[in-house]
């Protein structure tokens, strides 16, 4: 009933959703701001990449596929930069990384 491309894209989008859930779980469970940033940026970027691949599979034209990939690239760049800025601000405010005690 579903075509091959729909199944493939659903699989990719589902895997991306799993990564997003993992990132949110890390946000809720990790002990300090640095590890939470780690989980958020890495897992969310991979999740977004998988979702974008799933959308590229079923995109109607090459131009829209290129636009989707551009969105992913820009999001990766901006999330990496904001992760660095937040970590720098936290470090400057004196927040120490979590130590195993």
């Amino acid at each position: 009933m579903w075509s091959v491309s729909e199944v493939v894209s659903a699989g990719f989008i589902g895997a991306g959703a799993v990564f997003f859930c993992a990132g949110s779980l890390g946000l809720l469970r990790f002990p300090d701001v640095y590890s939470r940033l780690h989980a958020l940026t890495k897992a969310d970027n991979v999740g977004l990449g998988l979702v974008i691949v799933g959308l590229v599979v079923r995109s109607p034209s090459g131009a829209s596929a290129l636009k989707l990939l551009l969105i992913w690239l820009l999001t990766m760049i901006s999330s990496a930069t904001t992760c660095y800025l937040v970590a720098q601000a936290a470090h400057r405010m004196g927040i120490k990384p979590w130590e195993e005690s």
Binding site: L74, I77, S78, T81, L85, Q88
Partner: protein, 329 residues
Amino acid sequence: MTSSLAPFDVVLGVMLVALAWQLLRARDVFTGIVLFMVLGLLTSLAWVRLGAPDLALAEAAIGAGLTGALFLGALGRMEARDPGGFVARARGGASRAYHIFLLFPLAGFIVVLCRGVWLLPATAAGLREPVEAALHQAGVENRVTAVILNFRGYDTLLEIGVLFIAALGVFALYDTEAKRRPRVMPAVGWILTVFLHILAPVMVVTAGYFLWMGAHAPGGAFQAGAVLAAAGVVLRLAGARISFTIEKPLRRWAAGAGFLVFLLAGVSMMGAGRNFLEYELSSAKRLMLLIEGAATVSIAFALAALFAGCAALLGRPPSGGDAAGGQAS
């Protein structure tokens, strides 16, 4: 709205209400501002689900982005005058009886609203048919742009005028303080600068893309102006010496261009024997593009000036750190 996405819509609606509730219960202003930005993003999703992509673009750019930046800048300024006064205020104040007394009219109001929405016909076409019927006279294919710039152009002219007046208020209050205050470089590292070398040109191109696509796809002057203003805001945050005051004549023209061009376009139609703002069909598209271009510049300038006017304390040096940019920590 397709019925297969109904669970998504229900979840989105519940999240909107829950987020608004959390926002009102936020213990300090910073939490409230962050929740407000998230609320803006979710509202943008809601616009997409309601079939209004132009509104979704504007909501994402202005509601979630620029307004959040304005609130944070204002918070920084308020906290400089009253450190710690806006963080985790104790929930004192009105008594519980007062809250319960307020609950009844509020609940009644919500019931009336919900009943009104429930009784709306599910497939109301609204103004779609009259607009579709008159679209061939508009000169553009995008219905939203046709309504905004052609059929109801007078409203948009006045909106741009209102934005211009608000910017005038900022200019009136901003200049004197800027001269008195010593200018301190914001303490950011080189990564933000490198990021901006990539991002600022992309944002300018995106603004131009929205402006051009506004004729036949979701886009338009407000969305393009909001993206440009965001570019100006990020450049200011990174310490670029870009000024949004009206000392120089070029910036004065930039601030007033949108309203002026729109007004002149309308009046010039009167000179050709037509009514005010009644475009001629053959030149309508070019005229609207000209108006939209000038409006984009003005909207971007006004919004960026609103931010620059409240970003007074961005140069506050960190405790024990070097104030000049460039340290790698």
